[in-house]
Amino acid sequence: MAQVEGGAANAPVLPIVARGLTKRFGAVTAVDNLDFSVEAGTTVALLGGNGAGKTTTIAMLLGLIRPSAGEIEVFGTDVARNRFAVAQRMNFQSPYVDLPQRLTVRQNLMVYAGFYGIANARERLAGVAAQLQIDTLLDRPTGKLSAGQKTRVGLAKALLNAPELLLLDEPTASLDPDTADWVRQTLKTYAAARGATLLIASHNMTEVERLADRVILLRAGRIVEDETPRALIASYGRETLEDVFLDVVRGRSVHDSAERAEGGRP
């Protein structure tokens, strides 16, 4: 395992460390002074309403957006300066990013195997296809697939290099409950088998409750809560994470929620 330089001789390098992470677009501050780290092998959900800064944070981790201030490290590497040093160890999936529609699934995946430097590409592709149950889709044009099939193919692309860090932006958006559940199961199985770290931006509370060890709640670009799902529900005196989410996006604090719970108000 890689080691931190200097005094912390035996401390493992964390998959993600953000210090004072800030992104401004003109007068708008999308991400405001975030400090958080993610431990290896855990699944963390970034939760927040629209415009809370979830996607911008993930884009900074991927090197698609440069921070205005602060630092963001992946496996000890400053990704704003040199994301290529760790690009092979991570991957990303989002329903908002497609693969070329005219290529078959197999062609698309073989191309990405080339980018990620997978020597045993054919065997690996066959293995991932079997795991994600897309074997029968391999020779079909990607553009002819249903939304659920495209999601599984996108996931296959994201798992080809067996990433230690997998970033997901609303991985089950626009999927039917059965497919969404299957995707969650797959992610959970993969994370456990690989010991991988997952960071998921999501609006789906079921997803977060089922997958996440920890929830980072964002509002207006700031972290307002950073807890386990269960602890969050308890501290807000609510029954579900969705109720907590509504409290947070509507600007209610733990204190307000606790008072309300005592008074029996909704």
């Binding site: 957006i65 191309v111 990620y116 997978i118 991932v128 993969y190 088998a193």
Partner: protein, 284 residues
């Protein structure tokens, strides 16, 4: 669907991501994708030949007609067809570079590319190589047709043909880099502007007429563009059977400057797109 199985299958064997071999592998993967794309549609292959062929026919017949007049300039051996073919090398090479890049945006795949281990320089190298491959698919049959239909042999330009070809392709890459950079920064809303960039050169680089046909004040502008030296050189060979090597050196030097500037502009726009977040919303 069955329950997801355990991830205990074949593990990937990852090759080192840095170094020349890794770069060549990624460029090769991208080229493979462009070949898959071309193979996926026979219409695309036809399109590569269709327009250059029509252009060649139109200008070839015009040349044939003008050769019957008393104009000594127009009686020169295939000066118009030669100009059309050389212009098409520049235009089609630029098109090959730019359309391949913009296709990544149309297919919403650019995000996947930009988060993969593929470096920007590798993306550019693949686009350059692919533009030559596409150009060859289109231009070789059309050059052969020019010989059979009008008796114009592009190979009569001899070794200079290779030189002209290289100079024009280099210019096309500079234009392609700037156009791709503009698209990265401003998204698909800037598509029309980026498409028309190559046409800016058409009146200024003396494709169909000699430099002397331009007003005096415009001639220095034309001379600052590498293709002007190529087209002047082509006319000198076909009409006067001579070539001034200084034209070649000017074209080469100017191309070096434009190519460096083109790559600089591309990287600057890419950096600017990372800064303002436009890579996240590569739409209108």
């Amino acid at each position: 669907m069955n329950r997801p199985s355990g991830f205990d299958g074949v593990r990937p064997v990852l090759l080192p991501p840095a170094g020349a071999q890794a770069s060549l592998r990624r460029i090769g993967a991208l080229l493979r994708r462009y070949i898959y794309l071309l193979r996926s549609s026979s219409v695309r292959v036809v399109e590569l030949i269709y327009w250059p062929f029509l252009q060649m026919l139109t200008w070839g017949f015009l040349q044939k007609f003008l050769a019957t007049t008393n104009n000594p300039y127009m009686q020169g051996a295939g000066v118009l067809i030669g100009a059309v073919l050389l212009w098409d090398i520049l235009f089609r090479s630029n098109l090959g570079f730019f359309t391949t890049f913009i296709e990544e945006m149309w297919s919403r795949n650019l995000g996947n590319l930009l988060i993969s281990p593929l470096r920007p320089a590798e993306l550019v190298a693949a686009l350059c190589l692919w533009s030559i491959m596409r150009l060859s698919i289109g231009m070789i049959p059309v050059a052969a047709a020019a010989f059979f239909v009008f008796g114009f042999n592009l190979l009569d330009l001899g070794l200079w043909l290779a030189v002209f070809f290289s100079m024009l392709v280099l210019t096309s890459w500079s234009l392609g880099l700037i156009a791709a950079g503009v698209m990265l920064r401003y998204g698909l809303g800037a598509e029309e502007l980026a498409w028309s960039l190559a046409f800016l050169l058409l009146p200024l680089t003396c494709v169909y007429y000699p430099l002397a046909a331009l007003p005096g004040w415009l001639q220095p502008v034309a001379l600052a563009l590498p293709p002007t030296h190529v087209f002047e050189g082509m006319r000198a060979i076909l009409l006067e059977h001579r070539f001034d090597a200084s034209d070649l050196w000017w074209a080469l030097g100017l191309n070096a400057v434009y190519l460096a500037a083109g790559y600089g502009v591309f990287r600057w726009f890419l950096s600017s797109a990372r800064e303002n977040g436009s890579l996240l919303q590569l739409g209108e």
